[in-house]
Subunit: 355 residues, 2 copies
């Protein structure tokens, strides 16, 4: 057992505050990790506040984890003490179904084990996430990080935001000769622009904010379309192979469906609290267009993504915060006041709250 | 020019009535066809009544055409006088865009030329359809029919209803080892059951009518699910590779999305007048499911479908009518009182209306 310093919500209505608990003693196939950095995802906030249904409390959010291996179980061969590693949205899955066998653990037939607010496979204990200085994870769900050590804080958001975009971009074959739209330039969208550009696609950012144009181009977009401008949208009619929509607020999908060419796909990775207005059927039928959903990525694909990003020098654009600033960071996140991801420096977890 | 006997609507509010006009003199690449049979599609009724926007009048519907070649232009090599041929929903397309080059004329970038209520490519004249005893068609849009002559009336609905189901079943790889749902057992759905079964798929009919079970099994379905019965639906959760939804009335898609397994697709081939209620995003995201649209099929695929159906002895289940019965047939079609497609015997086109 390892005493772990963390921040937890004790109820849906209380702010995050210091909390200590014991992590399990590593089993033969576990990896024990000292957490260095943890990204701040919208899901953290939704879960801390029970906005996606009642959460279990105390709730320790955090699933964009980068750390250093502090111990490994007797049967662990892939990792050794001192390795830099990552942990994303999952820490386990049933390991018995076809999706698990196929490395698609996020679609586990029996439900993946989330890094927080989920039931452990064996003990059924509530999982506690990465807003903490230590974690113990089944080796299959630990990722190798080959980025330069100086980049580690900015690597953390790849574990959720990065893979959430990488997976659909791979699944629907973003690459040279393909015109790919990314809708929304936030934590997810800015990763999509970088990754799709590195894949060789012609990347177009669709945004409601004309002010984001310069930043989008710096990140790799060849063009920017202000989606509220009908003339701009009309110039791109029926021209996209793929559009990945990161917007998690209900909005009209039809203008984006109209941008798809024959057999093009609109992939939804943001899940709004209320459904989007209903898309028209004629828009789909007349060009055999498709709408799809995609959720993070499997473990093999997450490793592939990390390796791809290391090779292409891709990290997240981040703002580093101290652990005690988390409640303020949530407030700013709700106002989209972050470019583009907060990352907690876990060395600060034991600092006094008033600091 | 050939004097042609037909039935036309003269306005959105008048019933179909006898009408004569001249077909164009065949050009070097045209095929002149004496029409023997024409199927009756819901689109005919929608167009005759301007229910999909204002139609051009006089309006001669009909795009499930089977006939015998009466003359061919000098450069026509694929057809000769006496051949049995078919004409479906298209009589031309731009022949310049990529979809046309790819044999996907239904998705022509410049708009396919419908068999009726459409503009001819050269003359821009309004096209007049198959409720007539003669038609002249560009050879590229004429299909060979290899079914037995006795089956010709029942072949006619393959030209629209048949290809509308065949194309998505092929596109999304219905076949052995695949569980395929067909939603709705009407003119489209009954073709879907027959064709998917012939492709070797495990076919399940989803219907709101428990009374259709026996018929569905006769047509080739292995199972029938009454979609209003939540227990029956629950037994099929997350088990379908593909569901083709033929229902053209707005309805809740979520129960069908929940039936799809990982990476499964719900294909919409029916276009309701008002959009379906909005499908939930979580249902798509949690299993990378897809919703798609599909519209008839291209000319090469339509020929492939006709050959496939001839080989497997597939025709439509039809009720033969006389031309003068068309208005009554429309009334019955609106009440779904047909198993499963009306086909007009065009030898009756000159019969007195009172007959």
């Amino acid at each position: 057992m390892t005493l772990t310093h963390a921040y937890a919500a004790q109820s849906a209505t209380t702010p995050l505050a210091p909390f200590t608990f014991e992590r399990r003693t590593p089993t033969a196939r576990d990896v024990a990790i000292d957490i260095l950095y943890c990204g701040v995802c919208h899901s953290d906030l939704h879960t801390a506040k029970s906005e996606w249904g009642p959460s279990a409390y105390p709730c320790v959010p955090g699933h964009e984890i980068v750390g250093r291996v502090s111990a490994v179980g007797a049967e662990v061969s892939k990792f050794k003490v001192g390795d830099f590693v990552g942990v994303g949205c999952m820490v386990d899955s049933c390991q018995h179904c076809q999706p698990c066998a196929d490395g698609l653990e996020q679609y586990c037939d029996n439900g993946m084990t989330g890094t927080y607010n989920s039931e452990e496979q064996v003990s059924r204990a509530n999982t506690l996430g990465g807003y903490s200085d230590h974690i113990v994870v089944f080796e299959k769900f630990v990722l190798k990080i080959s980025h330069d050590e100086k980049a580690l804080a900015a690597v953390a958001p790849l574990l959720c935001a990065g893979i959430t975009l990488y997976s659909p971009l791979r699944q629907w074959q973003a690459g040279p000769g393909k015109k790919v739209g990314i809708v929304g330039l936030g934590g997810l969208g800015h990763m999509g622009v970088k990754i799709a550009a590195a894949m060789g696609a012609h990347v177009v950012l669709c945004t409601t904010s004309p002010g984001k144009s310069e930043d989008a181009k710096r990140l790799g977009a060849k063009e920017v379309v202000v989606s509220k401008n009908a003339d701009e949208m009309a110039r791109h009619l029926a021209s996209f192979d793929l559009i990945v929509n990161t917007v998690a607020v209900a909005h009209d999908l039809d203008p984006f469906i109209q941008l798809l060419k024959l057999d093009g796909t609109l992939v939804l990775v943001g899940a709004p609290g209320t459904p989007h207005p209903s898309p028209g059927v004629f828009g789909l039928i007349t060009k055999r267009r498709r709408i799809a959903g995609s959720m993070i990525g499997g473990i093999p694909e997450t490793q592939e993504m990390l390796d791809f990003c290391a090779k292409h020098g891709i990290v997240s654009d981040i703002e580093s915060i101290r652990m005690a600033q988390i409640n303020t960071a949530y407030e700013r996140m709700l106002k989209s006041d972050v470019k583009y991801r907060f990352v907690i420096d876990m060395a600060t977890v034991e600092e006094p709250v008033a600091a």
